[in-house]
Subunit: 262 residues, 2 copies
């Protein structure tokens, strides 16, 4: 499974401060620590309080790339901030994200085509996040079709069924899990799927427990990627074990260490 590290996000207090004050060390350590813990891609989000998202994105991408050769996932509601990052990335990037709205998809898929990126497609539109797996699948198919209209490949899209907090949307856990399974039937080879994991435990008391439990269930349903905190060791242990059970890496007694040393 592809792990996208979530920690470089201006919504976290320390990171927000580091962006404002241009503290390179904070960002670079976060980049290196996440990669060391298993992240293959780093999410880069200037955060909700950024006064100049374009400048902040430029600085973040440069700062991270000075210290790490991980791929980047450029995470912003603002296409011009995403493009500022895309101009600088050294490896193939991921755009986070488009909704299933036509106007947003046109903008984001044009960027994806221009800069040869992958794209996270959220199965929601102007009417909000669907309540059912069926509506999520409908929007997922719409996203894949639109991406192909723009000349992208189906497997350049990561379909995101949108995980909601279990404490306020408890019926949605099963819908999201089954949607992951059903998304895989949309095309052959199956499209990639992704979740923003931490949202499931937002506002709950046992965040790590809820996160790792949900992740293991999603892995059982065939999830291909997740945005998560790779520094949560118990979460990573659970993920490594789930992938072991699915025969994605060979068993040895020290399978946790072996995975981490890859």
């Amino acid at each position: 499974m592809i792990i996208i590290g979530e920690l470089i996000n201006g919504m976290y207090k320390d990171v927000g401060k580091a962006i404002t004050k241009r503290e390179k060390d904070v960002i670079q350590h976060l980049a290196q620590d996440q990669v060391k813990a298993g992240a293959k891609i780093l999410d880069v989000n200037t955060g909700p309080y950024s006064k100049n998202p374009k400048d902040d994105m430029k600085w973040l991408v440069e700062t991270i790339q000075d210290a790490s050769d991980a791929s980047l996932c450029l995470d912003s509601t603002k296409p011009d901030a995403i493009e500022e990052g895309l101009k600088l990335v050294k490896k193939r990037a991921v755009i986070n994200s488009t909704s299933a709205d036509d106007d947003r998809m046109d903008v984001i898929f044009n960027l994806a085509k221009k800069y040869n990126t992958q794209v996270i497609g959220l199965t929601m539109d102007k009417s909000g996040v669907p309540n059912s797996r069926d509506k999520r699948v409908e929007l997922a198919a719409k996203i894949i079709a639109k991406a192909m209209d723009h000349g992208l490949n189906a497997n350049d899209i990561f379909l995101d069924p949108i995980v909601l907090p279990v404490n306020v949307a408890q019926t949605q856990g099963l819908e999201v899990l089954e949607a992951i399974r059903e998304f895989r039937l949309i095309s052959d080879p199956p499209p990639n799927t992704i979740i923003g994991l931490s949202n499931v435990s937002q506002g709950t008391k046992f965040r790590s427990l809820v996160n790792r439990t949900f992740l293991v269930m999603a892995v059982a349903d065939g999830l291909s990627a997740a945005i998560l905190d790779p520094l949560d060791k118990e979460l990573m242990d659970a993920l490594i074990s789930a992938e072991l059970i699915l025969n994605r890496h060979i068993y040895c007694d020290s399978f946790l260490d072996a995975y981490r040393k890859r």
Copy 2:
């Protein structure tokens, strides 16, 4: 999910000794502790070294029932030992188990009919444990059909796809998990499914981690019961969280305590 406590089994050294020496306290504490931790049913197995399985089963059933009103799951290869227990049980029991072999099914289903029990049906036969989910489903359907021929209801059968140790049969994890899902399509309402969990981690170094990861994946696939160690707190936390995510109990901040106080 129905939890069947696995700890009253003569293969464990202390339990074997307690059976031989007729130490009631040891057995009664194990019964009470497992029920307190969440077991609804207690597995009762005289163990591989029992010199007189009939007497041992009789003593175990009487001893447990003197201290607990849990239902019992009578676990023996010997039909006469099972029947000895069935004569004594105060609540509806489960027989653990029959294979998909006709001769074994005839004996076990006759007992089940006579004593009005449920039965665990292992999807294996004289040729061994299947390698594929398809063969498991074929044997599961055979077990359900045979049970119905004997006048049992489909939902009195717990279909067991047979979990194998991940360190020696790593390809079988996915087959077992998908079999759980496919068993549910055999009849409507879906038949019950069960696993003997601890087998998955037999011989591995991180047994609790592997057990709880596999259990959460199986819960995602719709598992209805498991034979496990309810005294493994992390295992129970994972199970409670997985069922929370599937909306099987209502979210509250102290959902772990709330579940345990039910």
